[in-house]
């Protein structure tokens, strides 16, 4: 059969061993667009959307393990949105309800688009991917997994099994710009996480570079300036943070937005996101 509908992880891995270059189909929301256009050849297909091990998620101590076939709709659900709010907020901006019902977090990673909506949150969380083949298993940090525009380090015969992210204590924010109020591809996005235990701010810029960008200088700067007891910052810290985030962006001009606008947007979004999370000290 040209289409294998895997019912267990082992099913999927065996099929993949037999057809290492098979098209791996999770929700289909990216792949099928290309199939319909005729730009993606279809010979062998392995559908992994209904593999129970991949559809599950588990909260274990400080970690959340998300199966690769967890859908965006599930990410938006009550439990997951309380554990990883930024990821849930990002998931809510993906396409339409129909897309969110089908599309998966593993698919977002597999496509590795610079505009992938959940990727910045996963970068900010330092997500660790479990990559498995019939005979091997390895853990790969997300910034080593995604290697460029629509490219990643997945080898033939491998699939993404799960994604491990820390459950942090502290508010999180995700904002995304698009020219329409729903169902829109990101022009620029910004993710901000707070880790009150480590007294750290983690953030990530989306759609302003070939891969999501961690503005490390900005993160270090603001982490050192926050009054973690009061959860406040001075207004000029917000301004500087925003400027540092903006200068970390490496945007391009395309038909969805100019590089200059994207850089500007990052400055505005980063300041707004930070001011939602921290109160401004009155000087």
């Amino acid at each position: 059969m040209p289409v294998t509908v895997a019912r267990s992880l082992d099913d999927a891995l065996s099929a993949l061993e037999e057809h290492p270059n098979a098209l791996i189909l999770a929700g289909g929301t990216d792949v099928m667009v290309e199939v319909n256009k005729g730009t993606r050849p279809v010979e062998q297909v392995i559908s992994i959307g209904r593999v129970p091990e991949l559809q599950d998620w588990e909260h274990e101590g400080d970690w959340l393990h998300l199966g690769a076939a967890v859908t965006y709709t599930e990410l938006m659900g009550e439990e997951l949105s309380s554990l990883v709010p930024a990821l849930a907020q990002a998931a809510r901006t993906v396409g339409s309800p129909q897309i969110r019902n089908a599309g998966t977090i593993g698919g977002n990673l597999g496509t590795s688009s610079p505009a992938g909506d959940t990727l910045p949150a996963l970068f900010a969380l330092n997500a660790i991917l479990t990559i498995r083949s019939k005979t091997t298993v390895k853990e790969v940090p997300i910034d080593e997994f995604i290697t460029g525009v629509k490219s990643n380090s997945l080898n033939p015969g491998e699939l993404i099994e799960k994604i491990r992210v820390p459950v942090l204590e502290g508010p999180q924010e995700f904002c995304k710009i698009g020219p329409r109020n729903a169902m829109v591809i990101s022009v620029a996005s910004f993710t901000l996480l707070t880790d009150h235990q480590e007294k750290q701010v983690k953030s990530c810029l989306g759609t302003v570079g070939p891969v999501p960008i961690r503005p490390t200088e900005a993160e270090d700067f603001i982490s050192g300036e926050v009054n973690w007891e009061q959860n406040t910052v001075r207004p000029e810290v917000l301004d500087n943070f925003a400027a540092l985030c903006s200068s970390a962006a490496r945007p391009i001009d395309d038909h969805r937005g100019s590089a200059a606008y994207r850089r500007h947007a990052i400055r505005v979004l980063s300041r707004r996101a930070a001011s939602r999370v921290f109160s401004e000290e009155i000087s």
Binding site: M1, P2, V3, V5, L25, G27, G28, T29, M32, V33, V35, N36, K37, V42, E43, V45, S47, G49, T73, G95, S96, P97, Q98, I99, N101, A102, N181, A182, M183
Partner: protein, 162 residues
């Protein structure tokens, strides 16, 4: 092309799909092989919702489902929304409220709204708007569609819509 066949369960009945090309979408197979043209082909990239069908408990774009991967699932199309010769409450409300113009987006919207009302019989305006934000309509500006949703919701709650 492949000589294999697979079986899809559509609106409660099994249908064999023979001699299909592997890359065919569920939308195409429903429309062109199985005689269910109700789901519509407006973009074939998941951006319009005209092809919305229900698979098990979820509404999805059938254009983005590889047909051969939808085996052993309950697929419900507009043709299965109400018993033959009858109209469901949302269908009735669409006619009553003037929510139908050209009608191309209508089947996708009906399948989507029927599912919404199954989960929430009292959705507020913003909830409805978000639920149908993936179903583009070019004729109506959505006003009568939103009205139809509230008529159908009231009827599911057993009330008369005012």
């Amino acid at each position: 092309m492949s000589n294999d066949f697979y079986t899809l369960k559509v609106n409660g009945e099994n249908h064999q799909v023979l001699d299909a090309w592997t890359g065919e979408s569920l939308l195409w197979v429903l429309r062109e092989r199985l005689g269910f043209p109700g789901a519509k082909n407006a973009c074939e990239e998941g951006e319009c919702g005209s092809c919305s069908v229900r698979i098990d408990e979820e509404i999805v774009c059938s254009c983005l489902v590889l047909a051969g991967s939808a085996i052993d699932q309950e697929i419900t199309t507009i043709e299965g929304l109400a018993p033959e010769g009858e109209l469901g409450d949302v269908q009735q409300a669409f006619i009553e409220a003037g929510a139908v113009q050209c009608g191309f987006c209508t089947p996708g919207l009906l399948v989507t709204i029927d599912h919404l009302l199954e989960e929430n019989q009292n959705p507020d305006d913003l909830t409805v708007r978000e639920a149908i934000s993936g179903n583009l309509c070019r004729c109506t500006g959505y006003g009568r569609i939103l009205e139809a949703v509230q008529i159908a919701a009231a009827s599911r709650r057993g009330e008369n819509h005012e």
